[in-house]
């Protein structure tokens, strides 16, 4: 099955290991990965801050980059959700609305793709440890991918899962919010780390690079012995 990878700018620039894990897992599940070089960024940083005009060119670039793809898969719920918003952004545009809709219709978040399209829940992963999972806001509430990550984690051999208290509560990233309102964001992520600690887990798993960079950054600063892993990295453990 041919799968076109939408790596996301955060993974490309800061979390290359997540990208590698995504490729390796999907290949192991029988997919052929291709990667359009023209992809850069879904446009969220500008769009979410209200700079719709500035984000439109970036969006058009993405629409064009993925035009030939059959399945577009990405390890980020928020970036996938941004693609789903493209048709609204280009509403009324005689050329781009339709193209945007076509892209939105064929884009999948990584765990959603494995469970709902490949119809696989056991990817043969093995990781010893106790883990908890933070449900990223855009992926869960807005994109609606709630079950897939948990279904996959349940099948990871050796992994003990503990539910995170307040798992649905925002970690405080919110893109530019994390720097625009850095003090409030800092308090939110501090509470999130405290909640993670309460579970006694030694691994925090998430499915969105933004959240993980945020929570991981705070964990590092506080020197907590909690490993932060993207679900792709977990599923890639054998």
């Amino acid at each position: 099955m041919k799968v076109t990878l939408f790596a996301t700018c955060l993974v490309d620039m800061f979390q290359g290991d997540v990208g590698k894990a995504v490729v390796e897992v999907l290949e192991r599940l029988g997919c052929d990965i291709d990667f359009p070089e023209n992809q850069i960024c879904c446009g969220q940083p500008a769009y979410n801050s209200g700079y719709v005009k500035e984000s439109k060119n970036a969006m058009k670039k993405m629409i064009s980059a993925f035009e030939q793809a059959e399945y577009v898969v990405s390890p980020s719920g928020s970036c996938v959700y941004m693609f789903k918003e493209y048709p609204d952004v280009f509403q009324g545009d005689p050329i781009w609305e339709q193209k945007a809709q076509a892209l939105a219709d064929k884009t999948y978040e990584f765990t959603e793709f494995i469970v709902n399209v490949l119809k696989i829940e056991d990817v043969g992963a093995h990781l010893e440890g106790t883990a908890t999972y933070h449900t990223s806001c855009h992926m869960t509430r807005l994109l609606g991918v709630k079950e897939a990550p948990l279904k996959l984690l349940r099948q990871v051999k050796g992994l003990q899962y503990v539910e995170l208290p307040g798992k649905d509560r925002c970690c405080g990233f919110g893109g530019t919010f994390s720097v625009k309102m850095g003090n409030i964001s800092g308090e939110m992520v501090t509470e999130k780390v405290h909640d993670v600690e309460q579970t006694g887990a030694d691994i925090l798993i998430g499915a969105d690079a933004g959240c993980l960079i945020n929570i991981g950054g705070r964990i590092n600063r506080q020197g907590k012995p909690i490993k932060v892993m993207h679900i792709a990295e977990v599923l890639n453990c054998q």
Binding site: K20, S178, S185, G217
Partner: protein, 473 residues
């Protein structure tokens, strides 16, 4: 409506330091959220209820002129006076006129956000009229030198019982303990006399019922019932959108309201009142005035922010908001705080005073999820940002430049690849142990509390390219 002249950033810093408030807010949030979800599960078909509530509110807004007309006709038919106030000043002038005519010295009031929006108490007090808030939370705040409310349903949420005891002790010589029962009994005794000696009763209105010319009051304390039971002159103030066609829709919305606001199936008192005391009635006021307030609502109507007028003032969004959780209501600088306040305050009060509010959000969507009438709150918050940047031209110049650069970089693969290549060496003066602990520029706000990962020395796409060339993994 405005509650502070202080700068937004100052308010944030001050409130983040307020450990009392943050503890009180987070426990209240837990309580209200848990109960709300329990009630929703017990009621069943919650999503259908929400859709029904949304339908009712959308229908009313689409036909608002008709229902307001029907309401006013029916109020008049039952002996009441209806006054349509386009501005806050028109509303307060009208009410001032009644107070003067009645030579009123004392007025008792039940909780009404719209009366705070139009600054009613200040205007009445200028007439040397004593205005007494009878909602316990509002009473506490009033006694505490008119401190503004921090939550639209539980206004004194930010105060713990020790602080409340101290307020009564310092201002009124209260000498008992902070036990809630003792505090409540103290206030009950005090207020009972006020109801009995008041000249005018003023209430808000949870839902006006068009078919009968009635107003609906929803309380747990019964204070609105006492306010309306005794004084012979009654004034009800309502936002012009707070209306339902019939008792049937009122029932649906009240069912959504009590569960969403405080996690109760019903509140202790749900009362509908119609008109004045007529032949054969055992009770009722001699005079009833319904003041219908516009104050900017008709400008929202018909525009892209119209969905915010669906609001039934339950504060479920406030209770769900992870930002409100840490900064509390006073940070917003408006009587309307939390997500509903973020959307409504700039619309009613302009962007000058409220331009930071739409950015005090991570767009997490918890508010939209919680709203019993399905207002797309996070989308409206985002829309404000777009308006601020594009129409209002209020974005900070440095940010505008950064975003323009983003726009360029994100549309040009060549530029992006250059930037990606430069990222690691550019950041290397700030990088240690593969992380950045003291970042430059915008990163500084991040690195105050968090480490930031150093950019990949070799970015992911290069790895992938080399790999498919059959190169190293």
């Amino acid at each position: 409506m405005k509650t502070s002249d202080d700068l937004f950033n100052h308010r944030v810093t001050k409130e983040l330091d307020n450990t009392f408030m943050r503890g009180a807010v987070s426990s209240a949030q837990e309580r209200f959220q848990t109960r709300r979800l329990l009630q929703a599960a017990e009621l069943g078909h919650w999503e259908e209820w929400r859709s029904h509530g949304e339908e009712i509110r959308k229908h009313v807004l689409a036909n608002l002129d008709f229902y307001l007309y029907q309401l006013s006709e029916n109020v008049a038919q039952r002996g009441g006076h209806v006054y349509f106030a386009q501005t806050a000043k028109e509303a307060t002038n009208y009410i001032k006129g009644i107070a003067k005519k009645k030579n009123a010295k004392k007025i008792v009031k039940s909780k009404s956000m719209v009366t705070e929006e139009i600054n009613l108490n200040t205007v009445l007090e200028e007439l040397s009229c004593e205005v007494i808030e009878t909602d316990l939370g509002e009473y506490i705040l009033q006694v505490d030198d008119h401190e503004p409310p921090s939550h639209i349903v539980v206004p004194a949420l930010h105060k713990n019982k020790e602080q409340i005891r101290d307020v009564f002790k310092e201002k009124q010589g209260y000498d008992k303990t902070e036990k809630p029962e003792e505090l409540a009994l103290y206030v009950r005794e005090k207020l009972r006399n006020e109801y009995l000696t008041a000249d005018i009763g003023i209430t808000g209105c949870n839902f006006a019922i068009a078919e009968s010319g009635s107003i609906t009051l929803v309380t747990n304390e019964g204070n609105a019932d006492l306010v309306t039971a005794l004084p012979k002159t009654q004034i009800t103030v309502m936002g012009m959108e707070r209306i339902v066609p019939t008792f049937e829709e009122m029932e649906v919305l009240v069912s959504l309201l009590t569960r969403s606001a405080v996690g109760q199936k019903l509140t202790s008192y749900i009362t509908t009142l119609t008109g004045i005391k007529e032949e054969g009635d055992t009770d009722g006021p001699e005079e009833f005035h319904l003041v219908i307030v516009d104050n900017g609502r008709s400008d929202i109507l018909g525009g892209e922010f119209q969905p915010i007028l669906q609001c039934i003032r339950c504060a479920a969004c406030v209770n769900a908001c992870p930002v409100y959780r840490h900064v509390g209501g006073h940070t917003y600088g408006s009587i309307y705080s939390g997500p509903v306040g973020v959307v409504l305050s700039p619309l009613l009060g302009g962007y000058d005073d409220y331009k930071e509010l739409p950015y005090a959000s991570t767009l997490c969507g918890a508010c939209t999820d919680a709203c019993p009438v399905k207002i797309p709150l996070h989308q409206l918050i985002h829309r404000h940002r777009q308006v601020i940047v594009e129409n209002e031209g209020r974005a900070p110049v440095s940010e505008k430049l950064l975003m323009k650069a983003f726009g360029l970089g994100a549309s040009s693969p060549t530029l992006y690849k250059m930037a990606a290549k430069m990222a690691s060496p550019t950041m290397s003066p700030f990088t240690k142990d593969n992380k950045i602990s003291n970042g430059p520029g915008p990163l500084k706000a991040w690195t105050e509390t968090r480490d930031f990962p150093a950019p990949n020395k070799d970015n992911f796409r290069n790895w992938l390219k080399q790999r498919s060339k059959g190169g190293e993994q």
